[in-house]
Symmetry: D2
């Protein structure tokens, strides 16, 4: 088997680390860095080469994947003093899997292009479990000609690799999905709560909704009411899953995108505000389906 | 074949007329009335006996189905001067398929019980098409022992007959479903609009959502964006389907039920207000998925 | 001084009791009743005659004031088995100071008219303090010819007696004012909170708002931020004042009135939902300006 | 009289031009520029010196005022290729009266400091009328030691010059005020509309609100209902005043600031969305009080 060429990986957090491991499993030599040296050890033991800075990584590898918490981190890692673009090679392929503002993705793409490199946005859905099992969904935006090259790498880490269009559309698809998800989840939570108060059995109500036009992913796959389904966070005191803080961040990105494009998002805005209020209480680290509990609290108790 | 006993039917509107016809098709002699004499003619030609008032119907038939526009009509038809309860026979089964406030259903049940009759609420979903083809879904609330008797009749008109629990829970299930439906529809409309403004192709975005956690009935079965699906109102200038005015009425019922039970329904409330605003414009008689068009209108045009 | 004729008073709660006392102070012989016998004692000691039922009161007095918690109580006290209308004298003047649905006021007026009596709605603003000091504001709806007679009595208990128009408009004015009050209070709370997080001193921000177009009663007279003003509930841990539960009730009435008249009230609806959520937490018995505290809770604490 | 030193002025739009004229009236030699040469003519005829670029202005004047439409314009005028900071003199005082994101004000202040200059944010309220008459209100953020120097210039153009605190707090005060203003205006509009539908006379209702706790600037100074007040946009078909588009822009800034500081602004968000919807219709260029008309449209018409 011909040896594969090196791949750079920057950002070894909860998501990035298992993603990088899956690249190694698929035979790619990985050159990685992270601001927390301890995050690098585990990868080093698996054979990855650890360097000091993003610039160092860009000096060695011409295909780089980044997985970072938010827009400012992406800006720093690409255009900072020791950023990728300081030493990026001409013709490099830079894939950012962070979930950030699509406008920032466009800026990074423009800055990369000036250096002769190609930048694509490829945010993921699926969470830590899917990252571990290599079953992530990637939503990819950027120059279509480069999609095949990107897909080769992303397929090591994900089960669905979807091309969404021009630069930024990967981010757009991601934040659109999550905005609708938040609306559906809050809607399911308030509907289930109302039905219960009106005397309906929660399992029966879920069955009715799921056979009818009220059906949605939050009602049929991830029901927020304890006792209705097994194997979901609501069955486990809202542990695990997709945290309220992360959902709130994505709703903030959706709100920014809507403001910038002058798009009215009335329910998306209210959903954002409700998750914001939950973050300030005991729900910050619970799964986002705990909005049922937030709305459920009863008067006079 | 033994001849079947007579069934009363009160309310021969867009929904009631085809429902009564299906009873006749199944061999039930129908005794009907409606405040508009002309609505009765068609049924009379099919063999139905037409009487003057609800009281007259109750005098002849001990199983009666009512299908009326709103709570005040139901109160009038049951407890009015010429209402059913003036002449109802002991042991009669009264089934109300109107969509009304569950609190009114409970009042009618209590008033019926005083006269020795049994009242059940059995609102429908499915629209005129399903009424014609006998494929309605009935959500039934009331004394469980009477459900079998009710089901025998309702099966002539519907494909799904669901027992929901005590009196009023049929209405509860109906308005819960429609509240979540409205939230999902508006959410889908604003999400699709945002995605399009961010550069995504609408069909592609629908595909992404439907494979992901944003999936809901409004995105995968009744998509509100023209060009995404065929055979839905959005493909036909929002003609037909479920009118904005009717959805607004149901959201008003959901809001009342929520206020009465002190249940917070933040997205349900905003959805109600948005459909209310649409009613005052050119959207009143369009399908409720036209909320996409309402939100879509672009600045500077 | 000629002795004054008797006045009936039904409902001796937190508001009703001091109102009835003020009638006695002004020399009116009072005939009262309340479902809680203990509420009557204090008034009996001041010389009021206590009777068993509203009907008994109507049998003796031809001017009656009612002050009750909600619509069902009003319906019971007027049209119940022992209600006022069972024994009301022709030509009686019935003044209801409860805050209820204007539609119920209209029903009571119609029922009273059938018995030859005149019913007026006259809800109050001002709270327990103003009730004690006889400084309430009364908003009066009903036949204009009777306003002078009503004003004579109401002036013993209030400083402002405003004629608002036909029956129900007193209630309408009350719930309109309280809906706008709730919107202004929540708006002030979120604005002050945002300003503080952006680095503004709260007192300075209040000064800027109050000199500018953001000014409202909640910012300049009843500021919800502790430390900005003295002598308001926010200066006293939100004790006293106008309770969150009462505000929520009034917002429910406003919502019902809006639904019934097909009026869009987007901010009124969201305000209702927010106060509803507060009721289920520790804010139920606090002043409604505690919405600042509700919104203020900080993330990560 | 000793001659005054030159003042730079960049941005000669609807607001900037009358502001610059007032500086000239007060005896200041003005050096100005604008991207539209025709905007400069009028000022040139009054004696102002017109230069090509912001950099040119900075080369001549060590006190500069900028008045620009939005954040990107400010970034360009300060840090662009021909921006102020290319040729700014050490010790210069740079005052930005644009309404922009406070985060951008902070960036500009930091960039200015690197060049040895002082940047202050000083957005205005009062509109074109106040700009003409020199009666603007300035809300000023920045180093307190420089406030006296800033005030000397701003006093030529405004009646109230308020020091708000550290850099960005001028913007913060401005967007806070306008967010509360929008909430109060929409609240007043929906309340007046509800009251009218409930049978109240609009003038009477305004009187009741203004004597009560519902009172706000939008109800007592700028009432949105035609016929209630004179000399306001609602009396003139919503011509003039503060345009819906501008209010929507400010609500977008408030939303961004809230998202960035993790502050819940539920009513501010909904207000933003409603004005956004109005922008897409015929209300874009009308005064923002036309929200009454937007909500007022009646069903079935």
């Amino acid at each position: 088997m011909a040896s594969k060429t090196q791949v750079g990986f920057i950002g070894l957090g909860n998501m990035g680390k298992p993603m990088a491991k899956n690249l190694i499993k698929h035979g790619y030599p990985v050159i990685a860095t992270d601001i927390f040296p301890e995050s690098c050890k585990e990868l080093q033991e698996l054979g990855a080469q650890i360097l000091e800075t993003p610039a160092d990584v860009a000096d060695k590898a011409d295909r780089i994947i980044t997985m970072l918490p938010s827009s400012p981190n992406v800006i720093e890692v690409y255009t900072g003093l020791n950023g990728i673009l300081k030493k990026v090679k001409k013709g490099s392929l830079l894939i950012d899997s962070s979930t950030i503002d699509p406008a920032v993705s466009k800026e990074m793409a423009a800055a990369s292009e000036k250096m002769g490199a190609v930048f694509m946005d490829a945010p993921v859905s699926g969470g830590v479990g899917a990252a571990n099992s290599g079953k992530l969904t990637f939503m990819v935006g950027g120059v279509e000609e480069e999609f095949t090259a990107a897909k080769e790498l992303l397929s090591c880490m994900g089960a669905n690799i979807m091309y969404c269009g021009q630069i930024g559309t990967g981010q757009a698809a991601k934040i659109c999905n999550n905005m609708l998800l938040a609306i559906g989840m809050i809607g399911t939570a308030e509907t289930m709560n109302l039905g219960i108060r009106l005397g309906l059995d929660p399992k029966l109500l879920a069955t009715v909704l799921n056979m009818s036009s009220g059906r949605c992913w939050s009602s049929d796959t991830y029901n927020p009411v304890p006792g209705v389904m097994e194997g979901v966070p609501s069955a486990n005191n809202y542990q695990g899953g997709f945290g309220t803080t992360l959902m709130t961040k994505d709703l903030g990105l959706a709100q920014n995108a809507a403001t910038n494009t002058k798009t009215p998002v009335p329910l998306g805005s209210v959903a954002h505000q409700l998750y914001r209020m939950m973050c300030a209480r005991s729900y910050a680290s619970k799964d986002f389906s705990s909005v049922f509990q937030f709305l459920r609290e009863e008067e006079g108790q």
